[in-house]
Subunit: 295 residues, 2 copies
Amino acid sequence: MSAVEGTRLYDLAKAGDFQAFAKLLTWLERAPLKDALGIPALLQPARAAFRFGITGPPGAGKSTIVARLIGSLRAQKLRVGVIAVDPSSPFTKGAILGDRIRYSDHYLDEGVFIRSLGSRGSLGGLSSAAFLMARAFDACAFDILLIETVGVGQTELDVLHVADQVCVVLVPESGDSVQAMKAGLMEIADVFVVNKSDRPGAAGLVREISASIHDGEAARAVEVLQTVASENRGLERLTELILLAKSKGSMLANRADPKRLREEAKALLRAQWESALETKLSKINAAKDLLTLFN
Amino acid sequence: MSAVEGTRLYDLAKAGDFQAFAKLLTWLERAPLKDALGIPALLQPARAAFRFGITGPPGAGKSTIVARLIGSLRAQKLRVGVIAVDPSSPFTKGAILGDRIRYSDHYLDEGVFIRSLGSRGSLGGLSSAAFLMARAFDACAFDILLIETVGVGQTELDVLHVADQVCVVLVPESGDSVQAMKAGLMEIADVFVVNKSDRPGAAGLVREISASIHDGEAARAVEVLQTVASENRGLERLTELILLAKSKGSMLANRADPKRLREEAKALLRAQWESALETKLSKINAAKDLLTLFN
């Protein structure tokens, strides 16, 4: 596991070898960060995928929406990657089956690559891995990267710093959770989706979200959509918004934006620090050992 | 601000100079951790105060209880220190008035020293400062150190790792918060106090807590008390429990316990890391700078 091995895997992946790409992602997850960042294309990609984050409470239908989006984006001949950080996601469950999982509909489709990020649950570890993997999707010529994360904890929300735009998925019953998550959600959301909107309360929730957006100081235009993902209703507009943002977006400029690079740096540092923590602590057996922490 | 300055302040404080003790605490908060730990008596105290943590939701009456405990412990001729981490505490409000605050009843009492820990709200910073200050109270011959912290966030709860024993203060209306905090509270509590227990629901809450203790696997004996601190009712038993634990406790052994030292090490490392973070991030302006993080 050296930077040489990573570069070899990257070269194969770039040439279209999916198995090498899967190995590259695993290598990135495990390699020392300095080695991982030592692949020049990762730090200076020639092109970049549009990264679309999808978050929301468990059971909101995020995975169904992701599956639908894969379909509509593939219909446009776009290469689609998925990083699933949701422990309840069927994608993540699939992780047990192996490194590379394809959603059943897309099992034989070489234009789709789905990767789960499982239980590296420690502070920063998830974000760090997501940042590195997203760079690999950039470097290996994917057009769109969907990042599915369950919007419950700070760790999961931190992962969304990786995204160029963020979609928050809610259901009519989410009224209360909107209140609870409001501050955090309003800041990060570029699109709201009220899914399962054939249920009572959908219109009310749309009004509530719209009012909150209006109250906020956000200068950005935030759209609120109603969908029934299980029946593929209302998702055309979401696909449209992604394509629009992708065509307008300057993803390469985004990757070079110092503000975003600092979020990435923070995630990488946290991961490095957390992984060093246990080793350092194991050396503490007496009070005088506390001094060795700072040598 | 060198280790020499810290040692000088420590020597004066040890000799009974309260002003030097106040300056020592401030010095410990600001000095590089290596310098702070460089005072031998801090790492290897000749005696140690019994550290009693008091936590609970805002408005539960923690500060009133602390004030009552100061009174009853002073009546036993014990030297009492207080570290208040509760932003709503009158002790903390007093921080605006100066470094050293004495609760009004004890204004002229040289056997009481109260210090607030204010807004070093960053991850680990509070715990790190609390650990260092508690060591200063140990080294300067205090008998009891009360640590008041509001039990809302992980940061505040982390501070309780500093304590030898922990008391959780609730009020009859806290039923819901008990549910919410149960897991965390049950693990850390050595005593529960249902304060303001002249209000309806006190007996019910006591039953609920007792049942939870019974459900838990805790082998420790956890006592549940009812108090009305504003009228000084029911606090004799709490004072008794503190004195009992102090007489039984092996505080010097506690300070040398590797498991506890590792909690302390973690707090110190986090503080060091957080304080280095902004400096490191400010150097990130382009993707290639990410590599410099790991040099």
